[in-house]
């Protein structure tokens, strides 16, 4: 029972403070991984890929996955409910005076600072992912810096980056599928 309660509470907080949709939940979940030990950073990165490749809002998918991973179907249900509870409460209140809220100078001023912070949080979480994926963790541990860079991964990353820039209309699922094939053919899991 305490686990389910904790799941609800932690995802309630994510739902309350992750503002701007999409990847905004990611930095919160990355910190939660460290704090709770419910899942690893690597599992979280896998979750992002799965969320991007399945229908539905990414934040909801990620919380369902984390919940399921931690406490089965009940966990998935509780995490998702926790995530959407703050939205429902806030929106039902805001719906009473929608126009005023949208045009409020004060809301705009808060968002002016908040957007930059949200982008910064996602960037920092992204750097952690890059650190894990593009650097050779075992060489780093052995302080063998000449082999620290995972060249194979870096090359794939650069190629995928240019592909996503060249084919902007192509859905991310295509690039994820491509990367999966490369991973299997090149035996990327060391």
């Amino acid at each position: 029972m305490p686990l389910l309660f904790n799941l609800y509470w932690e995802f309630f907080k994510v739902g309350l403070f992750a503002i701007g949709g999409g990847m905004a939940t990611f930095p919160f979940l990355a910190k939660l991984a460290v704090k709770s030990g419910w899942y690893t950073q690597q599992e979280l990165i896998n979750m992002i890929a799965i969320s991007e490749s399945t229908p539905g809002p990414i934040g909801v998918n990620m919380s369902t996955y984390v919940g399921f991973h931690t406490a089965g179907v009940a966990g998935a249900l509780i995490s998702t409910l926790g995530l959407v509870t703050p939205s429902i409460i806030v929106i039902l209140i805001v719906a009473q005076f929608l126009k005023k809220f949208g045009e409020s100078k004060y809301v705009k001023a808060v968002m002016y600072g908040l957007r930059a912070a949200s982008a910064g949080l996602i960037a920092a979480a992204g750097l952690t992912v890059a650190w894990m994926v593009l650097l050779n963790q075992e060489a780093l541990h052995a302080q063998d810096f000449s082999h620290a860079l995972n060249f194979k991964a870096l090359c794939v990353a650069v190629i995928i980056f240019f592909l996503t820039k060249k084919y902007k209309k192509v859905h991310p699922i295509v690039f994820l599928g491509l990367a999966a094939v490369v991973g299997v053919l090149g035996h990327f899991a060391v």
Partner: protein, 179 residues
């Protein structure tokens, strides 16, 4: 069909066909909610999206709550929201159950090792896209950099960071006489 059931089903349908949420959902909302059912106008949808971006939570969820509440009060808001998250809940639970059983297979491990590289790039692209609207002057540029530093090297919670950044935005606008 009772309105609440229809609300649930329409939003479940929208939740099950949109990949990525947020903006990807807009065309489906326009078709199902505006054109087919006249539950809201395009202008209202635009307002919901604008407000959904500056209120907590997932934009898709916020928009569903708005439309449900408009049609059938608070209970409508809750039903529409449960509808939009229902497909994710089913699909992701199935995938999670599957992956728990197959995660140790070499082919799954290799595939995910490749996929994680792609995720790096997807996050990078998301940040680049956000930067255009987020970093608009020197102050927001500095905030962006400082937040990266704080988040990467300290244990300050993202919630605290977000709240403090909101207050800084408010104070900065106040000092410039915009408020």
């Amino acid at each position: 069909m009772p309105l609440l059931l229809e609300l649930f089903l329409v939003f479940a349908k929208i939740g099950s066909i949109t990949f990525g949420g947020g903006y990807a959902m807009l065309p489906f909302l326009q078709r199902e909610v505006v054109e087919a059912r006249h539950w809201a106008t395009n202008d209202e949808l635009t307002d919901y999206y604008a407000v959904g971006q500056c209120t907590p939570g997932i934009i898709a969820v916020n928009t569903a709550t708005f439309i449900g509440a408009k049609l059938a009060g608070n209970i409508g808001g809750i039903v529409a929201t449960l509808g939009v998250v229902f497909p994710s809940f089913v699909i992701i639970s199935l995938i999670a159950a599957f992956l728990t059983n197959f995660a140790e297979l070499a082919v799954v491990k290799n595939a995910f090792a490749g996929i994680r590289i792609c995720v790096c790039i997807l996050i990078l692209n998301a940040v680049l896209k956000l930067l255009k609207g987020a970093v608009v002057d020197k102050l927001t540029g500095a905030l962006f950099i400082i937040v990266i530093g704080i988040s990467a090297f300290t244990n300050v919670s993202p919630a605290t960071t977000v709240v403090v950044a909101g207050i800084i935005g408010l104070l900065a606008k106040k000092m410039r006489g915009d408020l």
